[in-house]
């Protein structure tokens, strides 16, 4: 059954912006799908609003619509393109929901287009709780007692029969939004209400809780001939109760006997067959560890985060195969892309152990509860591969960038016994460290832990084994055997040194004399049974090294690690582009990264992939092995850049900007001195180490001030303060000020924020474009709406920006990429920040200006001059359209998170609105971001004092003119009235009550963010949970009213390609 000949043109729906529960994995899946289809000679059309992705880049699909994933946009695009079929299974829940909506509306039928891979019936059967339940009963697969509820009464009735605890799962949501486990009436009421609201069809499932059972997942593929394979099985270390996205996951299953494994395999196969899915599918099971009974928890009828993980864990490209199957191929007609000889119709076997560890945003969201449950909170994840479980686990911990060298973190180590046991029971993101610490202190044994946590004894015993090895390192002499054992169990050098007390020299000598170094083994899908050609490696301590080092000149690119707030998929874009550029320039491109969700870790992206922790030990081992000509650190964000000092001190050739200048850009004092030298202003500022120094700084600088700890990423713990009270509180609560950790205090320049990305070659710079922020300074650049090209500043200011950028690049010896953030207060331009690396805006500018920024950067690093390129130097010509970047937040996922904009970044993703008309581009941006745009109703306005000015009043007035009724808090109301805007004054509790009823929008600029006890926080939260627009900066409100106006007047939008 070769591919269907009738398919000449296909459309793929992307997943849109990154949010918690739907992240980079869909860029990976979508990119694979596009490539798999395009190589068949089929014209490939892609629609995706996310500009940070590889898939929206030139050359992946034939045509890319970077347009909102809305029904209207899709209808227009479909009408124009008339594809023969649509692939919706690669765009996550977004893709499926959109396809379902189009099908229901009759759009697909109208043009005779088919959904390929999954059809409407499968989607409904898998995702509609009632339909799924019926299907499972039909095929005799066990599911827990459950009820579908649409109101709270039904929930109570169910609990009366079944009892607590019960799990609440909303239908059609991402990452389990709004779900949870209820153990009493109060929790039931809360969770059910929220679940019903969050569900797209106001439907929730209540089911008997099987919390504590083993959670097992299978990734299944089925083709049109009903052939099925399991690509990978996975076992969650955390038992049922913690969302699999928040669980530590191990592949393959470890504690299942063959009979248990096959029982679940049979079930998974039966389920995918009954759903008639042609492509990939994920089935989640709960297995009772005592009786061996199981139930089916959930099915995802599409590729998913788990399938990305499974693809990387097994080396089997699920999305690629799923795409081929959608075209009509059967599994036995396809080759195993890894061996290139054997069939794709087989089940991969692993000869290593894989551990996935989540990356949580709690360092950013300090108000958000760290407790893990059925609602996913992680923004990203890392994966590690090794020959023992212990080493895979420890490698994962060093990959996740929480600054640990072993199974310990200072916070947990510093708890007293009572606090430790309390935290252990709390089931939060640091539980694994508590388990280790409790065993280390002998507070509890494995049985006790098992009774308490229901983490399988196998994992607990392995952790105990790690602790015992720690103790042996502490008490026994470091023999070569002991060192080898510690290494093969994944101990880092730092840990071994700390435990054994030997010096680094001694350790090094034992290593060299006894040749104790890691070797590299290949991920080959077949456990070594067949010869494989994939250059996909991991390190381990074993006998044979399989890496063949080629005689070519090599360049090593260090990736960006797990996706987190402030360091997202854009850096993976840069790494992948970097790899391609390196290949183009005739070098061998090697990549090191640990993120399973990304394109960079696809085995056919680079010439060689080292799936490794980016800990310095691991990086040096690869460098030692490959001896590359140079290492590129500027594409992987702060993760890779942070290695600059360590690599530089080891005399490794860092390509691009030298370490000395990277350091200079990050060292506030040296940096200010340098800018002073070249006559460029920075906001006046001081570094202080005590409270007294802070207040004497205030005397010099005056309020408002920007305060932050030195050396931060993504504006962590940065704040604008307006008074002594706020400053005092900040110094006390937000940062622990000390001599080692100075706090930076800068004058807050209120004005326009402008962002410039440039490529420098040591002599010239090329600025593809300038982006101007909608929000004034004080809002993190990642969270502000920003516009390409600049649209308000004068030619003179523009020229100055270009000049400054050139001078800074020259002074900092920038080779490659640089990102500079400027503030312009109407008179003077200040430099706020220089990042000597790739930035969030690189993929955006590369796409909208069509200047291949990363490629030019690589060329510059290799000595090519910009002036010789076709793009020239200076400011590149402006395009004849606007591109508006709108941030997207995962507000709804994180209860108790304050979404108020500030200097600290909170968004998880972004979209682009593109149009020749700026207003329309803004409108498209908000549409793409999924913001509800009301055209009538009421707005509740409450402003902080600095915003009570004429300009703000004008904006509020605009809402009123468009027919919105204005409610306001007392102070704000008085101010508005004084400026001629009618407003009904209501108090906060009244306002909260009216949200979602009469009030359908909020303009609320809070005095202080991240304080749940503040009076406006509950109002913002309620609005967010109801999915209403909340404007926490007046500038955003001003932009938003433009979108409202266009929508209200029924403005037609045209959707097109760049």
């Amino acid at each position: 059954m070769p591919r269907k000949a009738s398919l000449n043109k296909l459309l793929i729906i992307g997943s849109g912006p990154i949010i918690i529960g739907q992240a980079a994995e869909f860029d990976y899946a979508g990119t694979q799908a596009c490539k798999a289809i395009r190589e068949e000679g089929i014209e490939t059309i892609l629609v995706n609003s996310n500009p940070a992705t590889i898939m929206t880049d030139q050359g992946i699909a034939d045509k890319v619509y970077m347009e909102p994933l809305t029904e209207e946009a899709m209808e227009q695009i479909l009408e124009k393109e008339r594809p023969d079929g649509i692939l919706a299974g690669f765009g996550g829940q977004t893709g499926l929901n959109l396809a379902m909506a189009l099908e229901e509306k009759g759009v697909l039928g109208k043009y005779g287009m088919r959904l390929l891979g999954v059809n409407r019936e499968s989607i409904e059967q898998a995702e509609d709780r009632e339909a799924f339940k019926n299907l499972m009963q039909q095929i005799g697969e066990p599911i827990p007692p459950s009820v579908i509820a649409t109101n709270i009464e039904e929930c109570y009735q169910f609990v009366k029969v079944i009892g607590y605890p019960v799990i609440i799962r909303p239908a059609y949501t991402l990452g389990g939004t709004g779900g949870g486990v209820a153990t009493n009436d109060r929790e039931l009421e809360l969770l059910c209400q929220r679940g019903i609201e969050n569900s797209a069809i106001n439907q929730i499932l209540l089911e008997k809780s099987v919390a504590g059972w083993k959670e097992i997942e299978y990734e299944v593929i089925r083709d049109g001939r009903d052939n099925c394979i399991i690509v990978c099985s996975m076992e969650n270390l955390d038992p049922v109760g913690v969302h699999t996205g928040d669980s530590i996951v191990v592949a393959p299953t470890q504690t299942l006997r063959d009979e248990e494994y096959q029982m679940l395999r049979d079930s998974a196969v039966k389920i995918i067959r009954s759903l008639k899915i042609e492509g990939g599918c994920n089935v989640q099971f709960a297995l009772d560890p005592d009786t061996g009974d199981y139930i089916v928890i959930e099915v995802n009828p599409r590729v998913s985060r788990s399938s990305a993980l499974a693809s990387k864990a097994a080396g089997y490209p699920i999305a690629k195969i799923a795409a081929k199957i959608a075209l009509g191929y059967s599994l036995d007609e396809l080759k195993n892309y890894v061996t290139q000889e054997t069939s794709a119709c087989f089940e991969p076997v692993l000869d290593y152990c894989v551990v996935k560890f989540p990356k949580w945003p709690f360092d950013k969201f300090r108000t958000v509860s760290r407790k893990l449950g059925t609602q996913m909170k992680a923004t990203g994840e890392v994966m590690s591969i090794c020959r023992t479980f212990e080493s895979a686990l420890l490698k994962a911990l060093t990959s996740v960038e929480i600054k640990c060298d072993g199974l310990r973190i200072p916070f947990v180590s510093n708890l007293n016994n009572e606090q430790l046991m309390e935290k252990l029971a709390a089931c939060d993101d640091e539980r694994i460290f508590c388990v280790a610490e409790a065993l280390r202190r002998n507070l509890i044994d494995v049985e006790g832990l098992y009774d308490m946590l229901r983490i399988d004894r196998w994992f607990l015993k392995k952790i105990k084994g790690i602790i015992e090895l720690e103790q042996r390192l502490q008490t026994q002499p470091l023999t070569k055997e002991l060192l080898y054992e510690a290494e093969s169990r994944g101990f880092t050098d730092t840990e071994i040194l700390n435990m054994s007390g030997v010096s680094r020299e001694v350790l090094q000598d034992i290593r060299i004399y006894h040749d104790i170094f890691p070797v590299y083994k290949m991920v080959d899908t077949c456990g070594g049974e067949f010869d494989a050609a994939t250059p996909y490696y991991y390190s381990c301590y074993d006998d044979e090294d399989e890496v063949e080092v080629s005689p070519e000149e090599k360049i090593l690119v260090i990736g960006s690690g797990p996706i987190r707030i402030g360091q997202g998929i854009e850096f993976d874009y840069c790494c992948v582009q970097g790899v391609w550029a390196i290949k183009d320039m005739g070098y061998e491109a090697i990549i090191m990264n640990n993120n399973p969700e990304t394109v960079s870790t696809d085995f056919d992206t680079s010439d060689k992939l080292y799936f490794e922790s980016l800990h310095i030990d691991n990086v040096m081992n690869v460098v030692k092995k490959e001896r590359p000509y140079g290492v590129i650190l500027q594409f992987g964000g702060q993760t890779s850049l942070n290695l600059a000092e360590k690599l530089s001190s080891r005399s490794i050739n860092i390509l691009g900007t030298p370490y000395k200048y990277i350091d200079l850009a990050e060292d506030r004092e040296k940096f200010c001195a340098l800018l002073d030298e070249i006559g460029i202003s920075v906001p006046a500022g001081l570094a202080v180490t005590t409270q007294e120094e802070a207040f004497s700084a205030v005397e010099k600088l005056g309020y408002p001030l920007v305060v932050r700890p030195s050396y931060v990423i993504g504006g962590r713990a940065m704040q604008v303060v307006y008074s002594d009270v706020e400053l005092k509180r900040y110094l006390k609560e937000a940062v622990s000020i000390s001599t080692e950790h100075p706090v930076l205090i800068d004058t807050y320049i209120q004005g326009k924020e402008i962002e410039v990305d440039a490529i420098a070659d040591g002599e010239d710079v090329l600025i593809p474009g300038i982006m101007e922020h909608i929000e004034r300074t004080g809002v993190h650049s990642g969270d502000s709406v920003s516009v390409y090209p600049n649209f308000t500043i004068s030619k003179e200011v523009e020229d100055t920006l270009v000049d400054y950028t050139k001078r800074i690049a020259k002074a900092l010896n920038i080779i490659g990429l640089v990102n500079i953030q400027y503030a312009y207060d109407g008179k003077k331009i200040y430099v706020i920040e220089v990042n000597p690396r790739a930035s969030r805006t690189v993929p955006i500018l590369s796409k909208v200006t069509k200047v291949p920024m990363v490629k030019l950067a690589v060329a510059a690093m290799l000595g090519h001059k910009l002036r010789d390129s076709q793009y020239g130097t200076g400011l590149y010509k402006k395009m004849d359209y606007y591109a508006v970047k709108v941030p997207v937040f995962s507000n709804a996922k994180l209860t108790n998170m304050d979404m108020a904009l500030g200097p600290e970044m909170k968004s998880t993703g972004e979209v682009l609105g593109i149009d020749q008309d700026l207003n329309k581009a803004i409108y498209k941006g908000f549409l793409a971001a999924g913001t509800k745009i009301p055209t009538r109703g009421s707005v509740f306005v409450t402003l902080r004092n600095p915003d009570k000015n004429v300009a703000t009043a004008k904006i509020v007035k605009r809402y009123q003119q468009l027919g919105f009724h204005i409610y306001a808090s007392e102070g704000t109301g008085a101010f508005l009235k004084a400026t001629g805007v009618d407003a009904d004054i209501i108090d906060y509790s009244k306002a909260k009550e009216m949200i979602g009823e009469e009030i359908n929008m909020l303009i609320n600029t809070p005095k202080v963010a991240n304080r749940p006890e503040s009076d406006t926080f509950p109002i913002r939260r309620k609005a967010i949970e109801r999915g209403l627009p909340v404007m926490t900066c007046v500038d955003t409100a001003a932009a938003f009213v433009i979108a409202i106006n266009l929508k209200k007047h029924g403005t037609e939008l045209e959707y097109g390609t760049l």
Partner: protein, 369 residues
């Protein structure tokens, strides 16, 4: 860590002189056998008790072995048949509600030596490139010289099927609907279970039972089991099977060695594969249904395709990886066999439908009569 055996050295000596040193576990002893690898990620207990592994030292490619311990329900026969076990990382503290002891202790009881802590992937790749190889496994401190001498002196047997067959005629499952004569070359328990659960009454015949005796039991069907060794060495069985093919007018079904013996009895030929198929992940294409199945595999020999096509047989199943014969069927008679293991155990249950096919054939015969 799991260092309880650390003092005891484990040695694996290969015929070509290469040596792998690790830790010993299981029964302290020395054995000479054929070194093979198995890629299954679960099912070590079933594998070790599968009589088809008689005479072989098994390297597991999955590195973590022993995780779920040993249960009393996962045996494919009464004892361990493999001559030795080689693993990367041995789990001494298993976790599974069915586990009654750990792998180490069990192998001690079962008098089977083990070696852990060696580079099993390197060993696997060696077997892959150089073929199945004679080896010495030892964990009682013998020297390399001793291992070399022992390796040189020992002749590997090919007629293991004669030693693992039922010692005497045995009846299983009284009152079954279909009487099946089982020619036992070292049957796996789950084959018997698969037949019994489909309403068969089984008459197990020891190796070498005559066709006459078998036919005298008046079976509704004849089943040829799996078993260890070189099929060509099962001369008596081949001869008797040839008679059965000619004279027994009942459905015949063979699995693995049973399949090879059927092929040889039909006048076909078998040959030794370079390193065999052992695992639970190979795709097999069924030419009739045009479907593919993931199968459990354990064989070192295969049937030569052209050799049977001239003998009235049709190739029905092909291995998707290397195109070898995975199944055949008589053009006219209700005789069929497969190289893979529809009884799974360990491995996927996808092809259990073949037992139904056998039973249906017997049913058909009944209707005829």
């Amino acid at each position: 860590m799991e260092n309880k055996n650390e003092k005891k050295e484990g040695l694996l000596y290969l015929e070509d002189g290469s040596v792998y040193k690790g830790h010993g576990f299981g029964f302290p002893g020395t054995r000479v056998g054929e070194l093979v690898f198995n890629t299954s990620m679960t099912g070590y207990q079933k594998i070790l008790t599968d009589p088809s592994y008689k005479g072989q030292v098994i390297t597991m490619t999955y590195p973590l072995v022993g995780n779920y311990g040993i249960s009393d329900i996962d045996n494919e026969s009464g004892s361990v048949h493999a001559f030795g076990l080689v693993v990367k990382d041995l789990c001494q503290e298993p976790s599974n509600s069915r586990s009654i002891k750990n792998l180490d202790k069990w192998l001690q009881e079962q008098e089977t030596p083990g070696v852990w802590g060696v580079d099993t992937r390197k060993i696997t790749k060696k077997i892959r490139t150089e073929g199945t190889v004679k080896c010495v496994i030892s964990n009682e401190g013998i020297s390399m010289e001793e291992a070399r001498t022992l390796c040189g002196e020992t002749q590997l047997r090919g007629d293991w099927m004669k030693t693992v067959s039922t010692p005497e005629r045995t009846t299983l499952g009284s009152g079954g609907k279909y009487k099946v004569a089982v020619l036992d070359f070292g049957v796996k328990t789950n084959i018997l279970k698969s037949l019994l659960s489909r309403g068969c009454q089984l008459e197990l015949f020891p190796y070498g039972a005559s066709a006459k005796e078998i036919m005298a039991s008046d079976p509704d069907g004849i089943f040829l089991t799996n078993g260890p060794g070189d099929p060509e060495e099962a001369r008596e069985a081949i001869e008797e099977t040839a008679i059965l093919l000619r004279d027994a007018d009942v459905p015949i079904f063979g699995i693995c060695m049973g399949h090879q013996i059927l092929a040889l009895a039909a006048g076909g030929k078998t040959y030794k594969l370079k390193y065999g198929h052992r695992g639970g992940n190979h795709g097999v294409y069924d030419k009739e249904t045009k479907r593919s199945y993931i199968t459990s595999q354990n064989h070192g020999y295969a049937v030569k395709m052209e050799s049977i096509m001239l003998k009235g047989m049709e190739v029905t199943h092909l291995n998707l990886n290397d195109g070898t014969v995975e199944g055949m069927e008589h053009r006219d008679l209700p005789i069929f066999s497969v190289q893979f293991h529809p009884e799974a155990s360990p491995g996927p249950n996808d092809s259990a439908y073949l037992f139904d096919k056998f039973v249906n054939l017997m049913k058909g015969g009944e209707e005829h009569a």
